[in-house]
């Protein structure tokens, strides 16, 4: 048992080093060392969020509550970036990294996990940075319950990661996934809870909207941020089994793909 545990720890160490190396490589290949370099990792989503916040503020978008629109855009759009960018990066990730698979210790899953971690870091830094900036400027109040925000954020990330790995692995087998993801991501965006509060919807629509898993996460993040000012609707008994099942699917698709992958 102790040797098995020791072997496992060694393997974990190797995997940690592999992921670290992959992360660095990914950052360098994507952002290079020009101008601000890897800072783009979170500056890019920040600009996105800032733009959307500015646009919504200018348009005085209706969102069905009396929350400040900046806070609404920040919590909503950051959540979208979190679950939408992960699949975007993972689709086709294997094709550009096929040569790496000659290394024995670089497994297919590692490539996806590295990209997912990178996106998670970028989106999280952007969300945290903008939150701190807006709070310092006095545009929004500090979150009421930071732990709840973190929990909701991790839930969205879990869903995003499972979705990303599933789609990434499937995209290696069929180009259709790549083609369908773009329209699908734009279609899901308005339904994802970023642009509305579930409470503002009629009861009949709430029931259907709550079948969409990211809505729950966004609602939790908002409840953590605004406390009792919003009446959040979410059901952990639905999202967590959903994410569990999706993770299961993701891992098996990766295994399936890994068995078929041909290194260049």
């Amino acid at each position: 048992m102790s040797t098995a545990a020791h072997g496992f720890r060694a393997s974990l160490g190797v995997q940690g080093r592999v992921l670290h190396a992959l992360l660095l490589r990914e950052m360098l290949t994507r952002y290079g060392r020009h101008n601000i370099g890897f800072l783009w990792l979170f500056v890019e989503p920040m600009l996105f969020t800032l733009g959307v916040a500015a646009l919504w503020t200018a348009a005085k978008a209706y969102h069905g509550s009396d929350l400040p629109i900046v806070a609404f855009a920040l919590t909503g759009y950051s959540s979208v970036l979190l679950w939408r960018n992960m699949p975007g990066r993972c689709i086709g990730a294997l094709w550009s990294n096929l040569s790496l698979l000659y290394h024995r210790n670089i497994r297919v899953l590692d490539i996806y996990v590295a990209r997912v971690l990178l996106e998670f870091g970028g989106a999280t830094m952007s969300f945290a940075g903008l939150s701190i900036l807006f709070i310092t400027l006095g545009w929004i109040d500090p979150p009421r319950n930071i732990l709840e925000v973190v929990g909701g954020w991790l839930l969205i990330a879990w869903f995003g990661a499972a979705l990303a790995i599933t789609l990434g692995a499937l995209s290696h087998q069929s180009e259709l996934v790549d083609k369908l993801w773009h329209p699908a991501s734009y279609l899901i965006f308005p339904l994802s809870g970023a642009a509305f509060l579930v409470d503002a919807l009629p009861t009949a629509a709430q029931e259907y909207v709550l079948y969409i898993p990211m809505v729950h996460g966004t609602e939790i993040v908002r409840e953590g941020f605004f406390g009792t000012r919003v009446h959040a609707h979410y059901d952990l008994a639905y999202v967590i089994p959903f994410c569990l099942a999706l993770t299961f699917v993701a891992l098996f698709t990766v295994q399936h793909t890994a068995r078929r992958v041909v290194p260049e």
């Binding site: 072997g7 496992f8 060694a10 393997s11 974990l12 190797v14 995997q15 592999v18 069905g64 024995r104 210790n105 497994r107 899953l109 503002a200 919807l201 009629p202 009861t203 009949a204 629509a205 089994p241 569990l244 099942a245 993770t247 299961f248 891992l251 098996f252 295994q255």
Partner: protein
């Protein structure tokens, strides 16, 4: 991946077997039966006009707001601490939820210390109010560990909601009617005061209506003037035709006294300090006051009547569609379903962890 070959792996035991056995113990032995009593009711408030099809579309889109103020108030009230403390005045809820017959895991105060905040959380888990925006019907369901408790608590909450709606509606009605009544009362006193002032002035001045009196006096004056004119003519005639007539001095005195009387009477009608015209100015002011006050009184009386009618129309009340039911079968917990759910989730978690750990093991030193 090693399935249940001869000895299940530690991972399988922690992820699947232990949780499933725990679920079996809980659902099979410990979990207390939960009875759910349901009531349906409508909060009627006729202030809301008949819903048009457009209104329905807007309400359906979440813009028009489907529910009425009163029914929103009922939902908010039922989910508040006030509802709990009101319902628990004679410890009905405390007794029902922390009875010794309820298993330690489900009882209030069984595992965690009992305090009011926790009881409120617990209460929110047992009471469910669901507004139906399209039909405006409110569903109130209460879970308890005995059928009678469930119904009694439901009944009590429903009564409290009724009391709340009655209170709100009485308040809204009495507010409007009270204001109108105050106005009417003020107008009444003003009208009465004005009339009293006018009457007092009449008594003091000793005149009923200066204008009519002036008319009468002027008529008297003109009669005297006629007499004066005829007396003068007679005097002139006598002086020119019979200058020696014995009546002439008599006529002269008559003319003179008539002239004096006319002058005196004219002074009484206009000009002097005690003349009628001076009295008329004061009288007009008082008369105008009195007339205005009377008109004002009439107007406030009409608006009071309107307020009464509006209040009758505004009456909001709770209409029971289905009274709290007496459950005869515990529909929760879903024992088999719970065990199966735990088993399936455990299997999923085990599957994920197995693949992940196997993935980690594929990395080797060297």
């Amino acid at each position: 991946m090693r399935l249940l070959a001869n000895r299940p792996s530690p991972l399988f035991i922690t992820c699947v077997i232990v949780p499933t056995i725990a679920a079996m113990l809980y659902f099979g032995l410990f979990a207390s039966d939960i009875y759910v009593s349901e009531a349906r009711f409508v909060v009627r408030s006729p202030s809301k006009a008949a819903v048009t099809s457009l209104g329905q579309v807007l309400g359906g889109a979440g813009l028009g707001g489907g529910a009425t103020e009163e029914s929103n108030a009922v939902v908010e009230y039922l989910e508040s601490r006030a509802a709990l403390t009101d319902a628990d005045k004679d410890k009905l809820l405390t007794r029902a939820y922390s009875a010794g017959t309820v298993s330690r895991f489900d009882r209030f105060g069984g595992l965690l210390p009992a305090n009011l905040e926790r009881f409120f959380d617990y209460y929110l888990g047992k009471v469910e109010v669901e507004p139906d925006t399209t039909t405006q019907v409110l569903h109130l369901s209460v879970s308890a560990f005995a059928p009678n408790d469930a119904r009694a608590i439901n009944e009590r909450l429903l009564e409290q909601s009724e009391a709340l709606v009655n209170r709100l509606s009485t308040r809204a009605r009495s507010d409007a009617v009270d204001a109108a009544q105050d106005d009417a009362r003020a107008a009444q006193t003003r009208a009465r005061d004005a009339a009293v002032r006018l009457a007092a002035y009449r008594n003091r001045a000793g005149i009923i209506d200066p204008e009519k009196e002036a008319e009468a006096r002027l008529q008297g004056i003109s009669k005297l003037e006629d007499e004066l004119a005829s007396a003068r003519t007679q005097l002139q005639q006598m002086e020119s035709f019979t200058p020696e007539a014995s009546q002439i001095p008599y006529l002269r005195t008559q003319v003179a006294s008539l002239q004096r009387e006319i002058a005196r009477r004219r002074l009484g009608v206009a000009g002097g300090r005690n003349s009628l015209s001076a009295a008329a100015a004061r009288y007009q002011v008082l008369l105008l006051d009195s007339e205005l006050a009377a008109k004002n009184l009439a107007a406030t009386l009409v608006s009071l009547q309107d307020a009464h009618a509006e209040a009758r129309r505004k009456r909001a009340y709770v209409e029971r569609i289905a009274p709290p039911s007496l459950p005869d079968y515990p529909i929760r917990p879903r024992r088999l379903g719970g065990i199966v759910a735990v088993f399936v989730l455990g299997l999923l978690a085990w599957g994920i962890l197995t693949v992940l750990l196997a993935g980690v093991r594929e990395h080797r030193e060297g």
